[in-house]
Chain length 307, copies 2
């Protein structure tokens, strides 16, 4: 089964205590697509500029990502610069040049319309909603958002949340969206806004999935997956999108969407996030094998499971 | 098997978003002893003042805690006041009156000398070391410390760490003690200072245990246990000491100390910490049953274990 991922493709300039890179291929859709590509067919909808070359394209096509939904517009590709010199948990943005991304209007190729899974990366909630409504036959939609939309376009975001089955955001975003300091209370409020499940990403401490009563199974007990304690986080950029890629990719690779699948997906999300931060940019995500992924899944299991 | 716990008994005045209490029985040794008392015999070594009444004593003796090591000194018991109004994760101290605790010299009753387990709660590292050296036949010593001793009495603390088998501290304390931002690297440095295992407490995200290569079993793979997502944390005071009580109490209740026992102990630590924060002070820890504890252990298991 295939996933359509809609979001940004960008060139990132990143400084961390481990080094610095300039204009490396990044963006939410890129990280997501590479991470998910180890589990299922991924189709990307995005926009790039004249500076997006065959070499950049090959990063995606080598992983058999379908790029027919990547629009080539006149101008430069979205550029972002940031650093994590003081704090590996939060990027300090140095510049944002939206360029062709500023007028991004996602166009879903007709050939993508039979995809059963959809991931709406962090873009304007009105665009997210339009894509979801256009792809009316999808079985499961995952979505991301951020503080900028939560505070700046709240009414639009609330409409979008009614169309999203699984929302993936971090602790602070849950607090902002719900107005609650308590995570379980905040989660309940967010679930009342529409999603059947909420994945809260805790960075270096893993993630928790909360279920609406009865959604995907019985009861409403949450489930937690850890993150791997990593010696040297070289570059945290894209960890959350890679998490989403592992999570959604694993789900799409399974016949059924139930609690057990979603729990395992949470582990695979952590696995892909843990790989992403080991190298700068998408480097580590370009050259993985399914065996390495399964071996790390076992490490996660041993990290958490009693004998 | 029994545990000797050395540390503070105090009267706490606490304000949280859920309310306020004044002069309730607290202190590290109290929380530890109550939490551990559900698993094993606990013997407390501490000092109290004239204001420590039969009613306070009964809180401990009802849980069959051996209080023959509690010295009654002239003066007032240690008093602490703090609030968590802005941040449930970190207390803001409003006052500290050491009172009789200022000149605390732990005296181990002869009857306690046959205990196989020892817990050194957060007191001056020189006092911790003296107790450990006096109780020369203990099988396993757990210890706690804090930023105040890490920065103020570092040489003394380093001597004490050579005598501690399992150190239980939080993320920030690992960073301070090791000078490393990376948790796994920091953990390795702390383990090189003496302990065979290091438990890092992550507050609402649980805890990780790191092992020195080959200690208590094979290899050096860490293990993580979650904390329970709790709707309303009424009072976080004593959560870390209750965690230590569940952790050490479970270990002492087992015949053998191996990796699997330590992993389960990490879960029981989380279980006791989760109960502690549900009510103000030690209230919830006074009236638990072993059945409630086992039921919550199962909740922790379901929260983390794949099917």
């Amino acid at each position: 089964m295939s996933i359509v991922a809609v979001g940004s493709v960008a060139f990132d300039s990143i400084a961390t205590p481990s080094g610095r890179v300039n204009d490396v291929l990044g963006g939410a859709a890129t990280y997501f697509a590479l991470a998910a590509s180890y589990f299922t067919q991924v189709r990307v909808v995005a926009v790039v500029g004249d500076d997006f070359t065959a070499e950049h394209e090959a990063v995606l096509t080598k992983r058999k990502v379908d790029i027919r939904g990547i629009e080539h517009a006149k101008g430069k590709t979205f550029r972002w610069g940031g650093q994590y010199l003081d704090n590996l948990n939060e990027a300090k943005t140095e510049f944002t040049e939206l360029n062709v991304f500023e007028k991004f209007q996602p166009q879903i190729p007709q050939e993508f319309m039979d995809s059963e899974f959809l991931f709406l990366a962090n873009i304007h909630p009105t665009l997210q909603a339009a894509v979801r409504l256009e792809m009316k036959d999808v079985r499961l939609t995952g979505g991301d958002t951020m503080n900028f939309w939560i505070s700046g376009t709240r009414p639009e975001l609330l409409e979008t949340l009614k169309l999203v089955n699984v929302l993936l955001i971090n602790d602070n975003e849950v607090r902002m969206l719900s107005g609650e300091k308590s995570l379980p209370r905040g989660a309940r409020k967010v679930l009342a806004m529409g999603p059947q499940a909420l994945v809260v990403k805790h960075g270096e401490y893993g993630a928790t999935i909360f279920f609406r009563e009865g959604a995907f199974g019985v009861g409403s007990h949450p489930f937690r997956a850890p993150a791997l304690p990593i010696e040297e986080v070289k570059d945290p950029t894209g960890a959350g999108d890679s998490f989403a890629g592992g999570f959604m990719g694993y789900i799409a690779s399974q016949g059924e969407v139930n609690r057990e699948v979603l729990k395992r997906a949470l582990f695979y999300g952590g696995v892909m996030g843990s790989f992403a931060v080991e190298q700068f940019g998408t480097e580590r995500l370009q050259s993985l094998t399914r065996e390495e992924i399964e071996a790390r899944f076992q490490v996660f299991r041993e990290l958490t499971h009693l004998g």
